[in-house]
Every structure is written in C-alpha cells, then in structure tokens.
C-alpha cells in the first residue's frame, strides 16, 4: 500500500479544501509535515483513521471534527459538510476512499450535530484500467488495511511507549494474529467447536446406545462448562486489560504533575521490579516442581538405599553377586567337554555333574550388568540427594530474598500510595483514590482468571477420562457408527486446527522477537537485548557477568520508546516479508508508516539514531513533527530521503499579549484554523 494523496475539507483545523500529496520511491520515501503544537498534526493522523474507518482517536476523547470557521459561516439550522478523500495504490490498483459527514448548526453558539452516520465510498482502477466501485466499502477497506492493525501503521509516537508495558501483551498478540492471518484459523476452530462439533455430538447422542449416550452427554456437559469458564476467563482478561489501560493513563497523568512526578516514577520502577520478581518466583516454583517430580523420592529413600546396599554387599561378600565364575565360561568348558585342569567332562561323569552345579549358581551377564548398575546408582544416590538438598536450599534462600524484597517493595508502594492519597493537590488525591480502586478491581479479575484456568485444567482431565471410556464403548448400529465417525473426524480436524494455530503463533513470535532485537540493538546505546516473551510481552534483558541473562526492570521512557518503535518497524517489515511469501491464507502486506511525533521525549542521541533508521522502517514513511523535535541531526539523517514536505500554518485567535505572527503561527480575529503550505518553513 502506498499513499498518494489526502484531501481534506473542513476537517478539524483545516478550513475549506486542502490537499497533501505523498511520494514514496526509493530516494523520496519520507514525507514530513512540520507544525507547532495545536496546529493539527494529530488531526491529520486522525484524518487517515476517520476516512478509512469512520473513527478518531484523540487523546482528549471524542471531539467535534467539523471545522469551527466553516460552522461559523452558516446560520443556525443550516447544514454544512466535511469530507476526506484518500487515494492510495495497492497491488497495482489505485483506490480512492471518500467519506463525508453532514452537520447541522444547532444554535447561535458554535454547536453542531451530525446528520446520520458518515458513509464511505471506495472506487478503484485496476491494473488494466478498469474502474470499479465497492458494494461494501467498509469490508473492502478492512481487507486492504485491517482496522485492528491501524494503530501500528498510524501511530502517535508520544504514546507508543505503552507497547512496552505488560498490559500491551494482548495488543501484541492480536497484532501477530492479524498479521499472520491467524484470525482465520481462530474462527475455523471456533466454528468447528461451537457449531459443527456441538451439532454432531447432538446427532451422535440421538443415535447412540444408552452407555454411549450417557458418556456423550457427560462430555457435552463438561465442554459447555469449559466454554463458560473460558468466557469468564476472557471477560476477566478484558476487564483487567481495561483497568490496566486506565491505570496507565493515571500513571501518565501523575508524570505530568511536577510535584508528584518523582514519586510516580519511583512507583512505576518499583512495580516493574515487583513484576520481574514475581516472574522469577514463578519460574523458581516451576523449576522446583520439576526437580521434585524427578528426584524428590531421594529424600525418602535413605533407609531403603542403606538396606538394599547392605543386602547387595552381603551377596558380593558371599561371592554370589557377581559370581566368581561366569556362566559363559562354564558353558564353554561343558561344550569342549574338558576342564582347564585337563579333566575330561564326559556326559554323566562326576566332574561334569559338579561343574553343571556351578553353572546353576553362576549369574548371567544381564544380571551382572543390572547388579553393577544398581550398585553404582545406589552409590550415587546419597550424592544426588545432597545435591537435591543443596539445590532446594539455594532456591529457598533465593525465594526468601525475593520475598523479603517483595515485602520491602510492598511497604514502599504503600508509603507512596498513602503519601499521594493524602496529597494537598486535589487532582492527585482523586487520582490516587481511583488508582487504588482500579488496583483492587484488577486484582479481583486476576483472581477470577486464575480460578477459571485451574477449573479448566481439572475439567480437561475429566474430559480426557471420558474420551478414553468413549473409545472403549462399541457402537451397536451402522447409523450410530457413522454419527460417531463424523464426530471423531470433526474433533480430529479441530485438534489439527488448534495445533496449527499454536505453532504458527509461536513461529511468528520467535521470528518477530529476533527482528525486534536486531532493530533494538542497532538503536540502543546500552548492551541490552529485546525479546517478545511467551506471554507476548516486550521485554528488555541484559547479561550480568557471573549471573547471566537478567531482565531490565527499570527502563527509561526513551528505552520504552525505542523498543516499541523497534516492534512496530519489525511488524511492518514482517508484513512485507509475508506479502512476498507464496501462502494462501497468511498473507501480509506492504504498509506505510504514519508517525505523529516519533521522537517523543527522546534525547538527542536516540533521536539521531532513530532518524537514521527511519528511511529503513518502511517503503513509505510519513512523519508529523514539531520544530523542537525536528532537530538538525534528525534533518541531516532524513533529508536525503525526503520527497515532500509541508508546513502547517496555524491561524490562532488573537489574545492579549499574543498578537505577533511567526512563520508557523498567524493571528486571526475569527475562529482558529490551519492552512497547509508546501515546503519547510524552517526553524
């Protein structure tokens, strides 16, 4: 996908008709739109979202999108419209999306209400020059650029750091799913399980013998319970995620209040550390469980080991194990019918009978080998037991240290919370109350998730037992047999779909993780590395000499921005790679990157490093930047790749003491608006 043109009419600050054209060949893949704060950069980012999906995403919530100057020009009760038109190229066709919305002025004040819903139109000219229009434009647009993915291709740089939070793991998992076309597999599994198998089970039950029917009914009941629990778990996960988003917003608000910023940062760092420690404790518990299940019996075998060793030692002393003469040696003598002392061993002779007596007492090689193994294992057991105790003690000590630290963190967090809760600043007090409320609500949801997970595991065990019983029950009629075969085959297909889903998601996660790390390491100045872990959380690690890989819990805002940007760049890159792959269902795509303030709060060095990477991030990059962010070092790195440049000239209402004009800000007597001028007006 390559964006060619965006035409705006009366959208937000943009009065009348304005047009932006974009280039994206190899030497001019970057378009920069310069503008000061409030001039409409975020509005332009939202223009892309609105024209494609009819939605906006302003930090300040839902706002009127109609230009105030246009509204002021019509009488109360009259109607005016805003419209956007986006032209883009995709797989050799040129598409035009047009969306308009009419508004009626409701009174003397600048208030307006929308008339009906905005409706898009989509037309395109294909590679043979044929003109077509979409009957269902919303669907077609969604196929071309999935709505779930838009936040990765049109993003606000000042907010991307949230991707590096644990709460964003759901978003990352969804992005991977959408990108890989895994939704298709998801839906196939859902349709097979919820509709087809349920139906086939009913049919099998109706034709079944009493035993089989009873088992099928039990199976269906357990499946329903599992589905209900999964739904409960998913609802709780969504609620928890929602609470986390609100908590993130509260944390961000704190960081805007100078008096409490330091405390809020300290809390964030403590919470990150707590998260890391809790993860470590979970790993320790897993490792301990594994060790105990493998070697835990050693702790209780001390007496047994001693008594078995004594018995074997007695056997050895008596020369019974291993026996002084090997059975094969006696067999050879009997075969040759001659002893080593020269005595003939004729059949029935006394000498032969005596030797045959030895043969019965002599041990076979298998028994001797087993004896040697047992003795050596028994000798190793006390050593292994000591090692088990030592390992468990080390882990206990580590666990105790972690728990002590968790307690200290908890106390520090309580102190911060109580200090913020009793703040003289009303906003802080209010935010803290809400924060505490949300934390409690989130803890409740997390408990629900754990309970549901445990209950699902137990039910799955029951289900496995019932399936075994079902396998044992013989079918009694051809009809029953057929119904059963259909059900079993549908279940086999669902299992295959589910395994495929898991493997594909895992494969993509690995691939993406390594790409993220490559980009991250090439930007970051520290010796850190990045990973998307099994829970789909973006994590940063470092190597500590003598200790090994350790998570970095205290990340700066800049580091969070760098890892988030690395993730987005890798996603766009992977989508492009997938587009080249000859797959039927898991097709990626070539997407542009449209970034509002990509340099956010980065320092000079990171700005320069990111700027250096920008031309490589995607085939087409559109950047919205303020003058303070568009520094000389950024300009130097991007300049060779800039194809088009625009400056947003903001016409701001005159106010006392603010009457002077500048290149980017002009004073006006009427409502504010922005004009787009081609070129860069400079600093």
């Amino acid at each position: 996908m390559r964006i060619l043109r965006l035409k705006l009419k009366n959208f937000r600050q943009f009065y009348g008709e304005c047009e932006l054209r974009f280039l994206s060949d190899d030497t001019s893949r970057i378009t920069v739109i310069h503008g000061e704060n409030g001039s409409g950069k975020t509005s332009l980012l939202n223009a892309f979202k609105w024209v494609l999906y009819g939605k906006t995403d302003f930090d300040t919530g839902e706002q009127t999108i109609l230009n105030e100057l246009a509204l002021s020009e019509i009488a109360p009760g009259a109607v005016t419209e805003l419209s956007l038109e986006l032209e883009f190229e995709h797989e050799e066709a040129t598409y035009t999306v047009h969306r308009k919305q009419e508004f009626k002025r409701t009174g003397k004040a600048l208030d307006a209400e929308p008339i009906g819903k905005s409706v898009p139109t989509l037309s395109w000219i294909d590679e043979r020059g044929k003109y077509e229009t979409a009957k269902n434009p919303a669907n077609r647009i969604n196929q071309l650029i999935p709505e779930q993915m838009h936040s990765y291709f049109f993003f606000n740089g000042e907010r991307i750091e949230k991707l590096a939070n644990v709460s964003a793991s759901g978003e990352i998992r969804d992005a991977i799913k959408t990108l890989m076309g895994l939704e298709i597999i998801d839906r196939a599994s859902d349709h097979l399980g919820r509709l087809v198998i349920k139906d086939l089970r009913k049919e099998a039950s109706e034709t079944a013998s009493a035993d089989y029917r009873e088992l099928l009914e039990k199976e269906a009941k357990i499946n329903t319970e599992i589905d209900d629990l999964k739904q409960e778990r998913d609802t709780a996960t969504k609620s928890s995620k929602g609470f986390q988003t609100e908590l993130d917003a509260i944390n961000a608000s704190y960081e805007q209040i100078a008096d409490v910023k330091a405390k809020a940062e300290q809390r964030r760092s403590l919470e990150n550390e707590r998260g890391t420690i809790e993860g470590e404790l979970e790993s320790l518990s897993q490792e301990r469980m594994e060790l105990v299940s493998q070697a835990g019996a050693l702790a209780f075998l001390n007496d047994t080991v001693t008594s078995v060793s004594n018995v074997l030692e007695d056997c050895r002393k008596r020369g019974e194990l291993p026996y002084k003469i090997r059975r094969t040696f006696i067999d050879d003598l009997l075969h040759d019918a001659k002893c080593i002392c020269g005595t003939e061993l004729q059949e029935g002779s006394q000498a032969r009978v005596a030797l045959e007596g030895y043969r019965d007492q002599a041990t076979g090689e298998d028994l001797e080998a087993a004896f040697t193994d047992v003795v050596s294992n028994l000798r190793a057991m006390p050593r292994e037991r000591n090692r088990l105790y030592a390992q468990l003690s080390t882990w206990s000590a580590k666990e105790s240290d972690y728990n002590k630290r968790l307690k200290a963190i908890s106390e520090e967090l309580d102190e911060i919370s109580s200090s913020l809760g009793s703040s003289d600043i009303e906003d802080v007090k209010r935010l803290e109350e809400r924060r505490n409320e949300l934390t409690q609500l989130q803890a409740d949801e997390r408990l629900k998730i754990i309970k549901a997970k445990d209950a699902i595991e137990l039910l799955n065990d029951d289900l496995a037992k019932i399936k075994k019983e079902i396998d044992k029950v013989q079918s009694k009629s051809q009809k029953e047999d057929l119904a059963r075969q259909k059900l079993e085959f549908a279940e086999a297909c669902k299992n295959l779909v589910d395994s495929l889903h898991e493997a594909l998601a895992e494969e993509t996660r690995h691939h993406l993780s390594s790409k993220v790390n490559d980009t991250f390491q090439s930007i970051l100045r520290k010796d850190f590395y990045a990973e998307i872990d099994q829970d789909y959380t973006l994590r940063i690690f470092k190597d500590v000499p003598g200790v090994g890989k350790q998570p970095v819990s205290e990340k700066s805002t800049g580091e969070n921005q760098v890892i988030s940007l690395s993730f987005i760049a890798s996603l766009v890159n992977l989508a492009k790679e997938r587009n080249k792959a000859k797959t039927t269902f898991f097709k990626g795509g070539v997407y542009p990157l449209i970034m509002d303030s990509p340099f956010g709060a980065l320092d000079r060095e990171y700005r320069e490093k990111i700027a250096q990477h920008i031309p490589d991030l995607a085939d087409q990059v559109i950047i919205f930047a303020s003058n303070s962010q568009w520094s000389k070092e950024v300009d130097d790195k991007c300049r060779p790749f800039i194809g088009k440049e625009y400056s947003l000239v903001y016409h701001a209402p005159k106010s006392k003491g603010r009457e002077e004009d500048s290149d980017y800000v002009k004073r006006t007597d009427g409502p504010e608006f922005t004009m787009i001028e081609e070129g860069y007006l400079g600093h």
């Binding site: 196929q143 298709i184 349709h191 259909k486 085959f489 297909c493 295959l496 495929l500 493997a503």
Partner: protein
C-alpha cells in the same frame, strides 16, 4: 517432542491426509468469508459457514 515445539509444517505432516485436506478446505471457506468478520451480518453468515464445514466432514467420512 511436544506439540508446542513442533513447526506448522511438522504438524501438518503428522496429520492424516484426510484431516489435512479437510482443514485446508475449512480454511479456504473461512478465508472466503473473511470480510464479514467485523460486520453485523456475521451472525447469519456463521450458520452458512458451519453448514459448509459440516458438509465437508460428512463427505470425507462417507468416502
């Protein structure tokens, strides 16, 4: 080797040719209906998809 550590290719290779074929056809059906994923008509389309998947399963079992 657990299912978790198998690649998609290995999983497909380990499956029966019948299951592989039907799953491929199911995915084709889902792909065909992909554009309905976010719209109101999704409910009625679901029944249609389920009926087509069921037909595939019945056809394969009767063979």
């Amino acid at each position: 080797m657990s299912e978790r550590s198998k690649s998609p290719k290995q999983i497909l290779e380990a499956a029966s040719p019948k299951a592989r074929k039907v799953v491929n056809e199911i995915l084709s059906i889902e792909h065909e209906y992909q554009s309905y994923r976010n719209i109101g008509a999704a409910g009625s389309v679901e029944k249609e998809i389920a009926a087509r998947i069921r037909q595939l399963i019945e056809r394969e079992v009767k063979r």
